[in-house]
């Protein structure tokens, strides 16, 4: 399936140059490219350069996303900020917001930033990973809830209309010698692209992944229109995944000014809504509680205890969040990043449009 591969640094240069030529300032383009290539390095290809054209470059080119936004702090305290993302690239807004949270954390121990009026920010895990690089605890969330529902997305438990996006939770804790703990999870059972993949392979999907257009459970990926919250069914705890999705929405969109005074009322009298994607970032210093080195040694001890769990008969071993991606990153930094044909086609198109060299290796 992956006929081509590319060195991570070459992919970074390519993506950054494309965005620069689309009108994004140089430093912002480097940030945005790093978010995408980080996902590819770690095997999270759903959030990598496969989206460079459709989610980002095309939208900056056609003006539906601003290439040169002015992020504006609308309200601020030493430990918090509410920010207007000015309809900028979410990848750029996310880096800007997380840096603001980290600056506050360095100064006073914690920083929390709620941002509205942004766009798709890539892999949520990138933002806590920024904090981990400075041994801070990091949190990155992104939330969307449509007041009148949406064609695609996640249904509330018992609901038959998509109201929520996959509203992911990402959180990271620094370890010492072990890979850092880094959880990055959609609050739905599965992302839509795994449904599409099953359809392409001609395979059914399990019960608990999706509903058809009428809100009935389906195992036919071609009929699957709406995703179910983590848990799948009420009996398996879907109210928990749904509750987490609303928690994410509240921290992102409600704290940043959505669903009220800062947004327009809806035509049908349904009160308000949110403006575009909303995010929440937090960074926390471990030494608010205990010395950093002791904490990191404790993380190593805990991670090793989990890894030593006796395994189920048909399984190789037990993992800890972020570990598989950590090993994938080491491998891909050595061997290059594999790219499937459809992604390569998009990248060639960008290469021609913006006159940027694309150096691929045939596998």
């Amino acid at each position: 399936m992956s006929e081509y591969r590319i060195r991570a640094e070459q992919l970074q240069d390519f993506a950054a140059t494309v965005l620069k030529r689309a009108g994004v300032p140089a430093a912002d383009a480097e940030d945005a490219a790093d978010v995408l290539v980080w996902a590819n390095r770690r095997g999270v290809d759903t959030h990598g350069v496969r989206n460079l054209k459709t989610h980002y470059a095309d939208k900056v080119s056609d003006g539906s996303i601003k290439g040169t936004p002015e992020f504006r702090i609308e309200y601020e305290t030493p430990i918090s900020a509410r920010v207007d993302g000015d309809n900028g690239l979410g990848l750029v807004a996310g880096c800007w917001g997380m840096r603001l949270a980290m600056k506050k954390a360095r100064e006073v121990g914690i920083g929390m930033v709620a941002m509205r009026n942004s766009n798709h920010f890539g892999a949520a895990g990138y933002y806590p990973a920024m904090a981990l690089a400075e041994d801070l605890i990091g949190v990155g969330l992104t939330g969307m809830l449509w007041a009148q529902g949406n064609q695609i997305g996640v249904v509330p438990t018992f609901g038959a209309r998509a109201m929520l996006s996959t509203n992911p939770i990402a959180i990271g804790f620094p370890a010492q010698d072990e890979p850092d703990f880094l959880l990055d999870m959609a609050t739905s059972t599965t992302p839509m692209n795994r449904v599409v993949m099953r359809q392409e392979l001609g395979q059914p999907i399990p019960e608990g992944w999706a509903l058809d257009a009428e809100g009935r459970s389906t195992t036919d990926p071609s009929m699957a229109k709406m995703l179910l919250p983590l848990g799948g069914t009420r009996e398996h705890g879907s109210h928990k995944g749904y509750g987490l999705a609303v928690m994410v929405e509240t921290l992102c969109a409600l704290l940043s000014g959505g669903w009220g005074a800062l947004t327009e009322p809806l035509p049908n009298g349904l009160d308000h809504d949110q403006t575009r994607d909303a995010h929440f970032f937090a960074a926390v210093r471990v030494d608010l509680f205990r010395p950093l080195d002791e904490f990191k040694q404790g993380m190593d001890a805990m991670i090793r205890a989990l890894r030593a769990t006796p395994r189920q008969p048909d399984q190789d071993r037990v993992y800890v969040a972020g570990e598989i991606e950590h090993h994938t990153e080491r491998k891909r930094l050595r061997e290059g990043i594999p790219l499937p044909a459809n992604v390569v086609a998009d990248l060639w198109e960008l290469s021609r449009r913006f006159d940027v060299t694309l150096s691929l290796e045939k596998r």
Copy 2:
């Protein structure tokens, strides 16, 4: 099944008096009783007075839990504290810890308290509900991870030994006219008592709830020994429930000093472990971000939009976290709290042992 009922205030008096006579100071006994009766008022009977005898009164009486602990702040900043719970009642320690977090939040906007060396603290949702009463955002977590596993508990994904407790997440956001959003969820698919309930009814359990003693999936409740993380199977996202459980453990036990310098190394060289139950409490002022009234109006708008979601064909309606419990509380404050026979038997035993009047109504 529920042959008896009791007024909430009478149950509160009874539970508080039992604990006082068991050796708990008066104010602490009132706190502990309120945590339990709050759960009963809201229909969370698994965490109510059914545990008064076995989890709390018996253990204070036999000295395995201290009735008069001295909670000690081991380290503190204006926004954080690490606390030694001194092997006290978790119900009392929890109220003390949450009040400390709320005091910090009132003073500087946020308060975070990590506490080790505590015990079972009842329903996690009680602690964010304390914050909601003052229009603060509230968080309550409790975590346990046994370095060498345990007979009962939750397995990591792919694991065949219980390593984690059900490590719940509770978080609350204040609303205006609607019931406050209050999510209180175990990070396992289901609690053990629902497995036991199915066994008593002679019913099978669904795939994805539990494993047998050898780590094989089972639908026979009598064979079920270990619980699965939320998601159930890897295909349904159990690595997410497992990841959330480890997140809870880290915020509770790692920040409070577990798995390192403050705990003893294990005999088999497996580094360290944690001391007893660990908790994490946080309170956050909404006006760190936006005016409280606007936020609460926004919460109402969001809650109403969710409630207006078109429902699945076989369902009555869509709910929001905390709503069902809110309505149960109104009903039980009117009609009294139903108590099943096995709970009544425990309460009678306590009534005799501590010479406390128990006023039940026969239904």
